[in-house]
Symmetry: none
Subunit: 216 residues, 4 copies
Amino acid sequence: MTDVARSPTRREALGIESRQRILAAATALMAERGYAGTSIAAVKKKSGLPSGSIYWHFENKEALLLSVIEQAAARWIEALPDTESLTGLPEERIQTFLNAAAQALEERPEFIRLILLISLERRDVDSTSLVPIRRARTLVRERLTTLFGGLLSSPDPKSKDSVARRFADFALMVADGAFIAHHLDRETTDLRAAFDLMRTALTVFLDENAAAASDV
Amino acid sequence: MTDVARSPTRREALGIESRQRILAAATALMAERGYAGTSIAAVKKKSGLPSGSIYWHFENKEALLLSVIEQAAARWIEALPDTESLTGLPEERIQTFLNAAAQALEERPEFIRLILLISLERRDVDSTSLVPIRRARTLVRERLTTLFGGLLSSPDPKSKDSVARRFADFALMVADGAFIAHHLDRETTDLRAAFDLMRTALTVFLDENAAAASDV
Amino acid sequence: MTDVARSPTRREALGIESRQRILAAATALMAERGYAGTSIAAVKKKSGLPSGSIYWHFENKEALLLSVIEQAAARWIEALPDTESLTGLPEERIQTFLNAAAQALEERPEFIRLILLISLERRDVDSTSLVPIRRARTLVRERLTTLFGGLLSSPDPKSKDSVARRFADFALMVADGAFIAHHLDRETTDLRAAFDLMRTALTVFLDENAAAASDV
Amino acid sequence: MTDVARSPTRREALGIESRQRILAAATALMAERGYAGTSIAAVKKKSGLPSGSIYWHFENKEALLLSVIEQAAARWIEALPDTESLTGLPEERIQTFLNAAAQALEERPEFIRLILLISLERRDVDSTSLVPIRRARTLVRERLTTLFGGLLSSPDPKSKDSVARRFADFALMVADGAFIAHHLDRETTDLRAAFDLMRTALTVFLDENAAAASDV
DNA sequence: TATGAATGAGCATTCATTCAT
DNA sequence: CATGAATGAATGCTCATTCAT
């Protein structure tokens, strides 16, 4: 008896849609005003579903937040290009990856906004909501580490990985910082220029690394 | 003996101290839990002063937030070294400045935390609280621009300023991003390493700029 | 069996009863102490229902006041006899009507008390609550005008209506004034005597009118 | 040793003026919004004097109300003509008196408004504030009784007084009712017409009384 | 005589949550 | 699966009043 994925009944499908509507409303509100600033009444109003339904689908407000973050984190990861799909010269691969990241930042700022806001707001209150956030960030860092590792030319795999990791951390920092700058000083900030500068920096690091490696 | 600027009476001095106690409590709480997450009851409990007194010193919660931010922004600026006090070679100056910035980040993280949290949380609610934040950031950016301008060697002052400004933006981004990384992935993040990487990047940019300038 | 106007479920019936309990408590309190003098806590205590329930049934205190007034106005009108039901000689009809009015005043003074108090207290604050009051008074004035119109004997319908209207205004004034006298100087005031005097006055007016009409 | 009314010192005069300013502000506010609807903060704002000063001049809010009412009642009585000053035929005397009353109603509605509002609002809370109100009304009723008594021609002084008293009560009722009508249905109410009607009624009563007296 | 600062009880209202249907 | 009614704790804020100066 195989576990055949039976298609949901009409009733179930309706339930799934309701859940999704609540999740979408909560995501938008929490990304805008934070967790404490988002009332169940506001979610009810925005989703169009009665508050009772919200508590049918989610145990409580905390659980709703967790689902919101999990979904947002999953989508954030989906938006980033897979490192394996990148080809060409090192500089080209970096360029492609950073372009994709900058584009994701510009087009779907709500996810990063949500992640940053919640992680700042909830750190000392309840850290369970930070788990999926950390998991997602770790995944992104690993992807970046893999990318840089593939571009470095050190003979020592251990030091290579360490250098790649440092580059990855640096890239993530610039991305976060760029988002905040874009968010806070939108008029005076040129997001693309910042990513260009980062690309230059990373390319230079790579070149230095290549030179150091050939010295050996 | 003219009656200029009479010193405050005992009662007035007490009032000033009360105000300061409320402000300190509110700053700590809002930096930790955000604006919406900080209740007046919590401020009352933490400051030890009755809620009526809070409303005697501040018109409402919004006004309290504004005062909190203004004080935090002022202290944040005070903590940063003045560019004029920096001496030595370009690399040394950058190093000194970044060291001071990293130290401020490590020792007094609450101010940046507050600034980032509030600017994310309140953006779409009420932007008046963002005014002192933007003012402080602009001041820091200008200080950085001056620093880099003094180290660049372009003959064209206009392009020099433009380059210095881009470097300043970049540095601020890395600083913000570093704070977030430090905050979110404390175990896996090496703040000093990130600032070292930024220093390297900036030094390389400067060298490239020097080379480009001598080409002319 | 069509599904028209289904009877309320047990829960719904309970809700209606709750609403009615709140309304009754608020009516009694507001008629006694006015709008500003009636706290939600007092309504909660008197009705026995939690404050949250009050806000479930009424949007806010203002809306509760409006409902209170609407209900009171409706009952006030119900208490007054319909002019069409009056028979007999003019003097008898007037007597019957005034008796009913005096009785209503004595038995259910709360409604007039509420109407007078609120209309004095809220005039310059928010006049929406005066709308149902004005509507009710207009209806009473029209009923009185009809009554007097039926008793007058002027050949000119226009002047007849104008005279009837003046009599109606006058009767309403004496009724209001009688209530206040009854309220303020209860010991020294004889409500029935006042209504008797009014009846005499109105009868005399009618006679004068008849004489004037026959002169033509 | 006569009780020479020494003129107040400058300091005292200032105090009297402050007291008067507070009283004026409180009168206006309480006549508009009632006692419960008038906060000390509002009196402070309207009078321009600090709340501490209000409590220096008046023991508490209740005492302030009492002073407000006493002053208002005194002025209300002052505004009415003395019955002894009235001369001429009975009808003329009534006309003069009612004209003065109607004028007072139109020109200084705040006093009646205050008296009616407070007496409705405070009846069941604290009746001490009703004492000066009752005293003032009694005085007015007596003045009216004297006026009518002088116009009546009954040989029996006891019955004469009783009739005069009934007329006085009736006149007061119409006056109060006229004020309310003027207040509530200003557009549709003709205050002068109502007073004219009352005058007619009173004159008729007097004539009837004269006829009845001569019958004896 | 006057007053600005303070106080805690009380205010109207919203909150997250429960539950009978 | 869904929902409208209910609940009482907690919210931001105003209140009448006190008191050192």
